[in-house]
Symmetry: C2
Subunit: 83 residues, 2 copies
DNA sequence: GTCAAATATACGCTAATGCGCATATAAAAA
DNA sequence: TTTTTATATGCGCATTAGCGTATATTTGAC
């Protein structure tokens, strides 16, 4: 399972899919990492102001990790979603 | 080039190495993406409060992208750096 | 060691997160 | 449809990023 994210919105989508796949609610996840349900909600909807610490907390709860790598050629889908 | 980041600090290190590899200063990078040199500095030193939008701006300037994937077994190095 | 360049900090400011708490809205179940 | 569950929003508050500007500190070249 690997997903490219070039915008906060894309991160949110990935997080949401993963959370749902694990059959968790935002409230449950929030409890695990001590974040409000509202905070998870904002992250998943793509708030650009979300803090790195919040993202890492959530990724930990979902057993995901973040990888940074050189950009690959962007697919048409990436481009349209950037704006 | 691919790097795992499990903490804001690790992200900072990756960003810094990449920036230096491109022979850019924080001030130059900041200009490209309209961020202050001080902001880049904080990101590179691992501020957990850094915003996602800021991270993406910087990654764009460095031609890097972010990938989210299932966690791999952590290497000893990862563990010690988590606390 | 000296000096210039790069990076880390500081101050005052504005804006926005994340908080607790509550509720409206949407989605799923009965 | 009615009821329950889940997600999105709202308010007031404390905290903090990021801004401009400026300066201390570190690093690197000479």
């Amino acid at each position: 399972m690997i997903q490219i994210a070039r915008t906060p919105k894309q991160i949110g989508e990935i997080v949401r899919r993963r959370r749902q796949a694990q059959k968790q609610t935002q409230t449950q996840m929030g409890k695990q990492v001590r974040l409000r349900q509202a905070t998870i909600s904002k992250l998943e909807t793509g708030e650009p102001g979300t803090r790195l610490s919040t993202l890492f907390d959530v990724l930990t709860a979902l057993d995901l990790e973040l990888v940074i790598r050189s950009r690959t050629k962007s697919s048409p889908r990436d481009i349209e979603e950037n704006f």
